[in-house]
Amino acid sequence: MTEELKTPLYDLHVELGAKMVPFAGYSMPVQYPLGIKGEHLHCRDQVGLFDVSHMGQLIIRGANVASALEKLIPVDLEALKPNQQTYAVLTSESGGILDDLIICKWDEETFFLVVNAACKEQDIAHLQSHLKGFEFEILEDQALLAVQGLKAAALMQELAPQACELTFMNGCHSEIDGMPIYITRSGYTGEDGFEISVANGQAEKLARLLLSYQQVEAIGLGARDSLRLEAGLCLYGHDMNTETSPIEASLIWSISKNRRSGGDKEAGFLGSARILNDIAEGVSRKRVGFLVEGRVPVREGAGIFDAEGNQVGEVTSGGFGPSINAPLAMGYVPASLAKTDTKLIARVRNKDIPITVAKTPFVPQRYFRG
């Protein structure tokens, strides 16, 4: 077994009393002494600091790089304004999802990407094999910190006021206490917040500065998962994978309108035949959210059944939502059973738990759209 990698904040996590677990090849904090529930609620109500340095950060440069990337990503990248970013999926030849990512246009010839830790090597290999002649800069010397929560903007007003002028999914180069950063107004908790790319060598100093504010608590992977679940956001490798089309995964919103049939830049991306067909013809199964009756958490892998007891699907993410103070889940069901308020059954330890197809997000998103 290869040794787990450490982020630049490893020592700080240990010092803060984190429980460290292996995650995507890294040793990462799953929780701190505050505990998952406390961390979750703190982030919604105050400010949470997340170490997401395990994620892959890279820059791709070259003339006409947007149109080259558009062959791999079903988004109108040319239409992004400088320093504007978007959530997107990296599609496969067969119309599945290789990864989900954030792609930010720095300028007409430069894009900055943040990809999942577990996928980064495959993603980079995939991008490089399709984007011959473009310059790749893998930012292994950059850490990534997320600052999320109701009071994140008020905090950033003191540290990097320029960032508070950003609206959701926009970024800028800035600095905090003399440390150069690239900061975007984004995150994966459903809250307003920021993601900050900073040099590895300055990451701990920045994290300690952020934690010196009493409203800031370090948040581990456990609460990160329950926060994103309540926000109705997908987790790659669980809620979608190489078999899932973005339409099945209910991610049609991530596909620019003009990349769909009839648009001025329709198709022309990997897997577009299947994906555009899925939009036109509909899909046989779809990802939906579920509210769960009672208190029993319904977790990944639980079977979903109809009233007659036929298995119709499976839970792909589930757990307990501290903010809604109830269990919640997401999973795949036949399109005919995907309507909101459809009553189904999840089976946990051979007991039938009533579940209801629910609108997501489960908590209101509080993104700052200006």
Partner: protein
């Protein structure tokens, strides 16, 4: 709390027993609740159910994962902590007292020799 622990016996499954005559109150240890994290649901057995040593008696769901309480000794459940239905967090807040799970009427001739004392359990968890 220290005095109470000195009267308790402990298992390798991180459960405690407080034995009073032929009955034992069963719960999980401070170490176990810390490992589990915030408990959000407890599934308790019916009073009157019989269990062999090692059988699953109750299920604990935390924000992180599901865990189980196994019967530390064979016996019949004579009481369950109904409080846990509404306040599962008692398992975190007071694992050795208010967060108890079940009371078991032990079978005659129960073998207590495998159970650990407080000191032995502390050594066990120190590893």
């Amino acid at each position: 709390m220290v005095n109470m622990m000195s009267e308790m016996k402990f298992t390798k499954d991180h459960e405690w027993l407080l034995i009073n005559g032929s009955q034992a109150t069963v719960g999980i240890t401070e170490f176990a609740q810390e490992q589990l994290g915030d408990v959000v649901f407890v599934e308790l057995p019916e009073v009157g159910s019989e269990y062999d040593q090692g059988d699953e008696v109750a299920v604990i769901e935390s924000v992180k994962a599901a865990g189980e309480i196994v019967a530390p000794l064979a016996g019949t459940v004579v009481d369950v902590n109904e409080e846990l239905a509404d306040n599962p967090e008692l398992v975190n807040e007071s694992p050795l007292q208010d967060g108890w799970f079940v009371k078991i009427q032990l079978k005659d001739g129960a073998d207590l020799s495998e159970l650990m004392t407080e000191e032995q359990y502390k050594e066990f968890t120190a590893d």
